[in-house]
Amino acid sequence: MDAGPCAFELCADDAPLRRGWGHLEAFLDARRCGARIRFVAGLLLEEAVSNIFLRAEHPPPTCRVRLHLDAQGDTLEMCIEDEGAPFDPCAAALPGRSAGGAEGGRGILLMRSMADDMRYARRAGTNRLQFLVRERLPIGDAR
């Protein structure tokens, strides 16, 4: 895999999380990305794609997600696009502190907390979710 940006397509009927992680891992390996970028990128992929494919009310089997990746220095740019119903996770309500097990929204909370930047746009019938992840020490180690 070369060092430039990459784009992949994931399909609802073809193990999208497993395939997405495989593409992402190969991309991160090729660019020797650090532990935090690897962890957070995997988390963002898992939560965002789960929301699109697994938590949608009626995901069509042919539903597709496009994953765009670029890495510059110690920063990963990741963009996830889908053509489902409009949904802005940057504005969605979050679970309250100590929310019970049945309450959802923790995946969105984690995306918003762990990404260094997260932006949503809806353009031409497409949801576009854009993340920046930077390499740095975990919270506990930075104190």
Binding site: E46, E47, S50, R97, G101, R106, G107, L109, P138, G140
Partner: protein, 116 residues
């Protein structure tokens, strides 16, 4: 039993559940039923060893909360220990320690169970 989970007898009162690898949605889908079946059979408190867990997503958080609540309803306790820094960061962002006991080391987890 799933390869990412081992259940060991700590003593007569306590089980140690050792998890490893990635706790993502597909792993949790596989280990949660096995974990529930194993814990429903017993009467012991539960230590969950996270030292070999490299990744945890929201499905893992949901599993820990559901398991802790179920054990609590049965009059038993669960304590998590050994989370790696990035896994601990995930726990902190969702305030998991408000709902589930979490400590750094195994001896602290055992002491916590002994004090209850």
């Amino acid at each position: 039993m799933h390869e990412a989970m081992k259940v060991l007898e700590e003593d007569g009162q306590t089980l140690r559940v050792v998890l490893s690898g990635r706790l993502d949605s597909s792993t949790v889908d596989e280990i949660e039923p096995a974990l529930r079946a194993r814990l429903d059979d017993g009467t012991q408190h539960v230590l969950v060893d996270l030292r070999e867990v490299s990744f945890a997503a929201s499905m893992a958080i949901r599993m820990f909360i559901a398991t802790a609540r179920r054990l609590q309803q049965l009059g038993r306790q669960m304590v998590l220990f050994g989370a790696q820094p990035l896994v601990r960061e995930v726990f902190e962002h969702v305030a998991l320690d408000d709902l589930v006991a979490i400590v750094p080391e195994a001896d602290q987890a055992l002491a916590m169970l002994a004090s209850r």
